[in-house]
């Protein structure tokens, strides 16, 4: 019979035999997370291999890996290997198939001989060069901020006390009237907006920074599109991310805009870009802003996303714009909105997280 996959169920059936076939199949199956079969790991445990890491005792279970030690390999093979030298010495020209590879443009199904590589593969068309550094803000969050946040937001209940069980927030219409049947449910108590439910903060759901959106709307672009180009360049310079232009959705006579005009530019920052941008804003730009009170305490959309604005003078304080400030046409560097999206469910938690990051707030804090 053709064996497609050796599963645990198959092995269970085999286990009764314990004959040569079972032993052979066990040798080929990986039973542990570490590479190799069970015998290898047993040998390793006996030899008592220890790796030198800051973790200490817990790391002894892992195999020794050259990734964890700082020194690279050494030896004659390593010294001999130099692909550039080999290429220079070569007199003849290689056929293109030896050095050229273009991944298939279209996906033609799982049975096609040419399968597209994974997006993480550098030869893929969808490849985006990955993280270039481990941002300081991300490290500080995981080492310091997250545990402090848990400690600060812990709510204690005495042993044996369960918090009051609340009913469904969207309540049905109850009564004798026949019109109540199939009527849409009533809104929640205390208002018409269904706010996000805030669950107790544990180590699994500490609020994190998710995304930062930098947005500018330039009125000058109504008459002259050069304003939008300059705004896009400025946004790309400060964020390091390609800016996206947006058309107006509707015509508003009061603002003097028509539908379909390209008037605004946004940059969405995730991951490493986001952490670098935020640390730049907090450490370099904010301290230099003159007479700045801070971010308003009422900023926020009640769902854990806060926002603040930077004027044109503040945007000119970014090091990427300061370095070639004269190359921008006068008075065309725009101000911008910065929207910080977090995984917090309400504004209070988001504000606490951003206070840890270093953003000051002023005025009454409203959820």
């Amino acid at each position: 019979m053709a064996l497609q996959e050796v599963t645990n169920a198959f092995l269970k059936r085999f286990r009764g035999c314990n004959g040569p076939l079972y032993q052979a199949s066990k040798l080929q199956c990986r039973q542990y997370a570490t590479a190799g079969d069970g015998q290898e790991t047993q040998e390793l445990e006996k030899s008592g291999s220890t790796t030198t890491t800051s973790g200490g005792q817990g790391m002894r279970e892992l195999e020794e890996s050259s990734f964890l030690s700082s020194t690279g390999g050494s030896g004659k093979d390593v010294q001999k290997f130099d692909p550039a030298r080999t290429a220079r010495k070569r007199n003849r020209r290689l056929p293109p198939s030896r050095y050229q590879y273009k991944s298939p443009r279209y996906y033609r199904g799982p049975l096609h001989p040419h399968q597209p590589p994974k997006p993480s593969d550098p030869s893929s068309r969808e490849f985006e060069p990955g993280p270039f550094s481990l941002p300081r803000l991300e490290q500080t969050y995981h080492d310091t901020f997250a545990s402090d946040f848990m400690t600060m937001t812990y709510t204690h209940f005495p042993p044996g006390f369960a918090p009051h069980q609340k009913g469904d927030r969207l309540r049905p219409w109850l009564g004798e009237s026949p019109y109540y049947k199939n009527r849409p449910l009533r809104g929640p108590r205390g208002g018409d907006t269904l706010k996000l439910l805030r669950k107790p903060i544990t180590f699994r759901n500490v609020p994190q920074l998710e995304r930062v959106t930098v947005h500018t709307m330039v009125k000058g672009a109504i008459d002259d599109s050069a304003h939008l180009h300059v705004a896009g360049m400025a946004m790309q310079a400060i964020t390091g991310v390609r800016a996206e232009a947006h058309k107006t959705r509707t015509s508003v006579a009061g603002f003097g805009i028509r539908e379909g005009q390209y008037l605004s530019v946004t940059c969405d920052l995730y991951g490493e870009d986001m952490y670098h941008f935020l640390s730049k804003v907090v450490d370099v730009v904010m301290p230099k802003i003159k007479d700045w009170k801070g971010v308003r305490g009422s900023s926020g959309d009640s769902s854990g996303h806060l926002h603040f604005g930077l004027t044109a003078e503040d945007v000119a304080l970014f090091p990427e714009i300061e370095v070639n400030y004269d190359m921008y046409p006068p008075r065309m560097i725009p101000g911008c909105h910065v929207m910080i999206h977090t995984t917090a469910k309400d504004d209070r938690d988001a504000r606490l997280l951003l206070t840890q990051v270093g953003i000051p707030f002023y005025g009454k804090q409203i959820n």
């Binding site: 990734f67 290997f81 300081r136 005495p158 006390f161 009051h164």
Partner: protein, 380 residues
């Protein structure tokens, strides 16, 4: 329904003799308020709702009530004062190789550098940029000498043992670039500062121009690291350091003391920090809740009668005597921003103090204490 669950009602009722023992002060207040409120509504309402009580009893867990004679424990607080890491951690070899490779791939894929947006034609910065670019073939300063668009652009992986991706070489390259040199020492013609032909001596004769000295960053390993000074806060800047003190018995523990009168745990922790380590420390207590606890029961269940004297710093403390079966110690998290402990006039007879990382704390404290403490200390 606003009816309190059965368990809370049971705890809050006057019949429960262990109410004071098992429930903390603020919760006792909240529960007794609720019970008073619900007693009033129950009196007003004629028939209690039958539907909710079986649901409430099934939902709420049975309360933990002590079954035995009332046992008093000595309630103590201990501030765990820590200095968070001031530096990022060192990257391991995989991370360094990965980041360098990704940066080189980015060179091949990103749009070319728009030179005249940053360096105006005719300014002295322009030929300087051109010279630097010729030397390193790429606008980037931290990926070594690599031409992404040339004939050897395919050779983007560095060989084993190459130091291009190491932190030291990147910092060195950035500093050299800021000083006006090429990022790698090439040959004699590039040594020293920017060269210029001298009008008097003639072209080709080098004249010493002003050297730009860029301040080098301080070493990650400080003097305190090399000498192993455990009293210094500048040691192990990439790790969290915890304050341990040696008490009058010679045991290394976090500074601890009894909770007096009606003070809270966090108030006790702040007072203990001042009474043990002096006022020359800028500290901040993180939250009002403990991060761990350590219970020590006196051997063979024999209580010790302890005389509690009034504490000068706690207004509500009184002199009393209490029979205690053990100690319950709660750890409160605190952070230090500036200052150092001063055991000169401490009230507990503390002999010594030290700032220690997690594995060093392991080496100094007792085994049962370590078992209670280890999970609340941070690895980094």
């Amino acid at each position: 329904m606003n009816a309190a669950p059965q368990s809370a009602r049971r705890i809050a009722s006057a019949n429960n003799a262990f109410f004071v023992d098992t429930v903390c002060f603020s919760c006792r207040n909240r529960l007794s308020q609720q019970s008073r409120r619900h007693a009033a509504t129950a009196a007003a309402v004629s028939d209690p709702p039958p539907a909710t009580s079986p649901q409430a009893s099934s939902r709420a867990a049975a309360p933990i009530i002590a079954k035995g004679p009332r046992k008093a424990y000595r309630l103590m607080a201990a501030p765990v004062l820590s200095r968070p890491p001031l530096l990022t951690r060192d990257l391991n070899s995989f991370e360094k190789a990965f980041y360098l490779y990704q940066k080189r791939l980015n060179e091949r894929l990103a749009m070319p550098f728009s030179r005249y947006f940053y360096y105006n034609k005719g300014t002295p910065a322009d030929p300087e940029w051109k010279r630097k670019l010729q030397a390193r073939k790429t606008p980037s300063r931290d990926i070594g000498i690599y031409d992404a668009y040339g004939n050897e652009g395919w050779n983007d992986e560095v060989l084993v043992g190459d130091r291009t991706g190491e932190r030291e070489s990147v910092v060195e390259a950035l500093i050299r670039d800021a000083e006006g040199k090429s990022i790698v020492e090439e040959s004699e013609k590039d040594q020293g500062a920017v060269t210029a032909g001298d009008a008097q001596l003639g072209e080709g004769q080098r004249r010493e121009t002003t050297k730009i000295e860029v301040e080098r960053p301080s070493s990650r390993e400080t003097e305190a690291d090399r000498s192993g000074d455990v009293k210094s806060l500048n040691r192990k800047l990439d790790r969290t350091l915890y304050l341990l003190v040696k008490n009058h018995e010679g045991r290394w523990r976090f500074p601890e003391d009894r909770v007096y009168g009606r003070e809270n745990l966090h108030q006790a922790a702040e007072r203990i920090l001042i009474q043990s380590c002096g006022i020359n420390m800028n500290t901040w207590l993180v939250g009002n809740h403990p991060i761990g606890h350590h219970a020590h029961h006196y051997p063979s269940q024999k209580p010790i009668v302890s005389k509690i004297s009034a504490n000068a710093l706690v207004g509500t403390s009184k002199e009393s005597e209490k029979e205690e079966f053990g100690e319950k110690l709660f750890f409160m998290k605190a952070r230090i921003m500036a200052g150092q402990p001063d055991l000169g006039s401490n009230a507990y007879g503390l002999q010594e103090w030290a700032w220690l990382a997690k594995e060093e704390v392991d080496g100094r404290v007792g085994r049962s204490y370590w078992a209670s403490v280890k999970n609340m200390l941070v690895e980094r």
